[in-house]
């Protein structure tokens, strides 16, 4: 694993590197078609979020009482909600919220978790013991319960929501990364760096962290799906982003529940969007893990 990573890092020619990436991508698509489909959906979702102002047919916040609870039609492809707002437009803009919160929480959670995991493995001894027991305490709380508690304490604006979702992810990532970092710690180049008198920070960040990138990327993609689901759950419970912001979880609550029998499209399409996004991230994450883990590598 580390040899592969090092191989990529030492490749000098940028053209050769691009070619190699293209080969890797094509190989990934050929060997892991499900993962490739997942990656395709993720890329599509990112494009939709970025292009939302141009591709959205309506203003997602504009109330139109004349079109309240309208069924899917040529005017409103996915129907309207209880305020006459276009469901498709709100799903398109909702992808921005999902990705901002999802990427924010997953990236920060995985990165902080990785740094803690590597540091814990590097120092070992009492520091490792204290960090691991603290991580054990945090991991003993179910993801949603810890996030709920954090939101209740911090309040429910967007930065706090990301922070609340980040904290439960840190110990999960730290434990996985630590186990990989324990073997990296024993590598001769780490001993060499120590012998040269490099500072701990430099050894951890420049020599150990790059060599645990594979589990880091796997955790990151796995957390993305979880973070999107968590954001939707918190919004559904009224503790995430607030109306009138377009967010998938938010679209499932309130009137969507009350009118579930008469206007099922209000809950159906945002629910599908959440399922598809989580499924895509999970497919991609699983395939990435298979591709990067030498023990699971085939062919």
């Amino acid at each position: 694993m580390s040899a592969t990573t090092e191989g990529v890092l030492v490749e000098p020619a940028s053209a050769a590197r691009r070619r190699r990436w293209l080969d890797l991508t094509l190989s990934f698509c050929r060997r892991r078609p499900l993962g490739a489909i997942g990656a395709g959906v993720v890329i599509f979702m990112i494009l939709v979020a970025v292009l939302a102002p141009w591709i959205s047919p309506y203003d997602p916040l504009a109330i139109d009482f004349a079109a309240m609870l309208a069924a899917p039609s040529a005017q409103h492809w996915l129907g309207t909600d209880a305020f006459g707002r276009d469901v498709l437009s709100r799903i398109i803009y909702g992808s921005q919220t999902a990705l901002i919160v999802g990427f924010g929480a997953a990236f920060i959670g995985s990165t902080v978790g990785a740094v803690i995991g590597v540091a814990s493995a590097y120092f070992g001894g009492r520091i490792d013991l204290v960090i691991q027991r603290f991580m054990d305490i945090l991991i003993s709380f179910p993801l949603i319960i810890l996030a709920l508690a954090m939101v209740a304490v911090l309040g429910n604006n967007l930065p706090n929501l990301i922070a609340a979702m980040t904290v439960p992810m840190i110990p999960r990532c730290a434990l996985v990364i630590r186990s990989s970092a324990l073997s990296v710690r024993e590598m001769p180049y780490v001993d060499a760096a120590r012998a040269l008198g490099y500072r701990h920070t430099r050894i951890i960040l420049r020599h150990m962290l790059p060599n645990v990138m594979a589990p880091y990327l796997i955790m990151l993609t796995a957390f993305l799906g979880q973070a999107i689901l968590l954001e939707a759950s918190l919004s559904f419970l009224g503790l995430g982003v607030q109306e009138p912001t377009a967010a998938w979880g938010l679209m499932l609550r309130g009137a969507a529940v009350e009118f579930a029998e008469t206007a099922p499209w209000m809950a159906l399409f945002p629910g599908l969007a959440i399922s598809l996004a989580v499924f895509a991230f999970n497919l991609f994450g699983d395939s990435l893990r298979d591709a990067l883990d030498p023990k699971l590598r085939t062919g």
């Binding site: 916040l61 504009a62 109330i63 009482f65 309240m68 609870l69 069924a71 209880a82 305020f83 006459g84 209740a152 309040g155 429910n156 604006n157 009224g238 607030q242 109306e243 009138p244 609550r253 309130g254 009137a255 529940v257 009350e258 009118f259 029998e261 008469t262 206007a263």
Partner: protein, 537 residues
């Protein structure tokens, strides 16, 4: 069931509410027997209504008690005080002495006779509570100088100043009459025990499950109650309450359902469901914090109220939320309510919304806040806070005001309001009867009234409140109520009214003799209620 059928069902039910005679029909003879079953969405914190504020006490506990007066159970406005334990009363010419003659032979459930001593002890507990005893409505009776019991069947209230609303205050559904001897021994006894003179005797309370009452065979109002008993089921979930009624395992839920829930029940059960509707004496208000800039500027506050298209909002929101009527400071249709044509003259109540919004933009420009943006603090209760907030934010967006909603968890919400830790917030008022003294008090100056969350001082408003309260005739009082309303909502725009709540009670058509009113605290004694063809199985 398609949407057109549902819409038709909703229209039918609305028509039924408007034109069906309320309460007991003249051609129907009340039938005795059966057990009334009703879900209650909240549970009583204690059994003592003198100290509690929630309908969770009134709904299961009120059938065990009487008051001195009550509101006429057949009056849809819920504003006419009539005799309950009092048989008759007189008021002195100066309006300072109210003398009540009590019914004789009324027995508590433990067999003791009710006398003036009990009425005095109960009102002394409410108005002059001893140390350590909580009385939630003590402030409402500041006008009372003394309560006297000159003989066993006469009670006299001496007032400090004449108060036209005094009879309504005595008809409060919270003022249960307790036994004096018990209160003398332990003023907290009624927090955990029941012993009244009411139409039903307490059987059991299983916390988290149910409350049961059975017919009082010695009830003083001969022939009543009609029911053999009642069973209150404590069910918090709205969908579970609907399911109970839909499955015909409960007859009625007295607080109210949403329009969607009404339509679902009507569509599922057809004629087996009767829908009773009424304006609700509850209102969501918008409180601009006068201590925060630019909300100290009345031009900004006026702009915010001018932006609201209340009539279009009423038409649309009434389909998805428990709000409906466009109202001023009084529930429409009640004695002191401003007629619609006069209401239209107030800022934000005109029918020409484009002109109103143009004026709003002009006012914001004059105030130097054309790009106004603020955080709107809302209470973490979905219905109707959430839909009303979405509507408000959309309306303000149309005059270029950018608003972010911050939802504060329900338990922490009033702490936020009390601290004044907000720019603009949703506030709430709900009363047991439509009475200007009770309804307008909230809007007097902060120094007089801690529940003023606009944090303003307005001596003119305080003076108008006093004048209406001491007015000698209905017409004179109406004049002062209108002046108060104009200053509050138009000239100063201290508060913004959203839409009056709308009470929707879809109930089993078997339930008769119950009249919906603007308050979910009224008509809960159940003495007049009967079941058309026996109990639900």
């Amino acid at each position: 069931m398609n949407r057109r059928t549902l819409f038709f069902a909703a229209m039918l039910s609305a028509a039924a509410c408007l034109f069906a005679p309320a309460g007991v029909r003249a051609d129907e003879k009340p039938r005795s027997g059966g057990e009334l079953i009703f879900p209650v969405p909240s549970e009583p914190p204690s059994y003592d209504a003198h100290r509690e504020q929630t309908f969770g006490v009134i709904h299961p506990v009120a059938p065990h008690y009487n008051g001195l007066l009550r509101f006429d159970p057949t009056d849809p406005t819920g504003t006419k005080p009539v005799a309950d334990l009092a048989e008759s009363w007189t008021v002195s010419e100066d309006g300072l002495t109210y003398t009540f003659k009590l019914r004789q032979g009324v027995k508590f459930h433990d067999g003791n006779e009710m006398t003036s001593k009990d009425v005095k002890a109960s009102y002394d507990k409410i108005i002059f509570p001893p140390a350590g005893v909580v009385s939630d409505r003590k402030g409402q009776y500041a006008v009372v100088k003394a309560v006297e019991a000159p003989d066993p069947y006469t009670v006299v209230f001496q007032l400090k100043w004449p108060a036209v609303s005094f009879l309504a205050s005595l008809a409060s559904p919270w003022n249960f009459i307790y036994r004096a001897d018990i209160l003398a021994k332990d003023p907290h006894w009624y927090e955990t025990h029941i012993n009244g003179t009411g139409p039903f005797i307490f059987v059991e309370h299983v916390k988290g499950s149910h409350w049961v009452g059975k017919k009082n065979p010695n009830y003083w109002d001969k022939g009543k109650p009609y029911l053999d008993g009642y069973r209150a089921l404590f069910i918090k979930s709205s969908s579970a309450q609907v399911a109970a009624i839909r499955g015909e395992r409960a007859h009625i839920q007295f607080r109210g359902f949403s329009p969607a829930e009404r339509d679902t029940l009507k569509a599922a059960l057809g004629d087996k469901i009767t829908v009773a509707e009424s304006p609700w004496d509850c209102l969501l208000l918008v409180a601009p914090n006068h201590t925060k800039k630019p909300f100290d500027d009345k031009r900004v506050r006026r702009a915010l109220t001018l932006a609201l298209d209340r009539y279009a909002g009423s038409k649309a929101l009434s389909k998805i939320a428990i709000v409906k009527e466009v109202a001023g400071v009084q529930v429409p249709g009640t004695p002191y309510a401003t007629p619609p044509e006069e209401l239209e003259k107030l800022a934000g109540y005109g029918k020409d919304i484009n002109a109103a919004r143009a004026e709003a933009k002009k006012l914001l420009k004059e105030a130097g806040v054309e790009d106004l943006s603020f955080t709107f603090s809302n209470r973490g209760v979905p219905m109707p806070y959430e839909p009303v907030a979405v509507w408000l934010i959309d309306q303000w967006r149309q005059i270029g005001v950018n608003v972010k909603q911050q939802v504060v968890e329900a338990a922490a919400y009033y702490a936020t309001l009390k601290k004044g830790d907000f720019e603009v917030a949703m506030d709430f008022q709900c009363g047991y009867t439509v009475e200007p003294d009770l309804d307008l008090y909230k809007f007097t100056s902060r120094s007089k009234n801690p529940s003023n969350y606009g944090f303003y001082e307005d001596k003119v408003l305080d003076d108008l409140y006093e004048k209406q309260s001491k007015a000698k005739s209905v017409e004179e009082r109406k004049k002062f109520v209108r002046q108060f309303e104009k200053r509050l909502l138009d000239e100063e725009a201290h508060y913004l009214m959203t839409l009056q709540w709308h009470r929707i009670i879809p109930h089993s058509s078997k339930v008769r003799g119950w009249q919906v009113t603007p308050s979910h605290y009224l008509n809960q004694m159940l003495d007049t209620v009967w079941l058309a063809d026996g109990p639900t199985q």
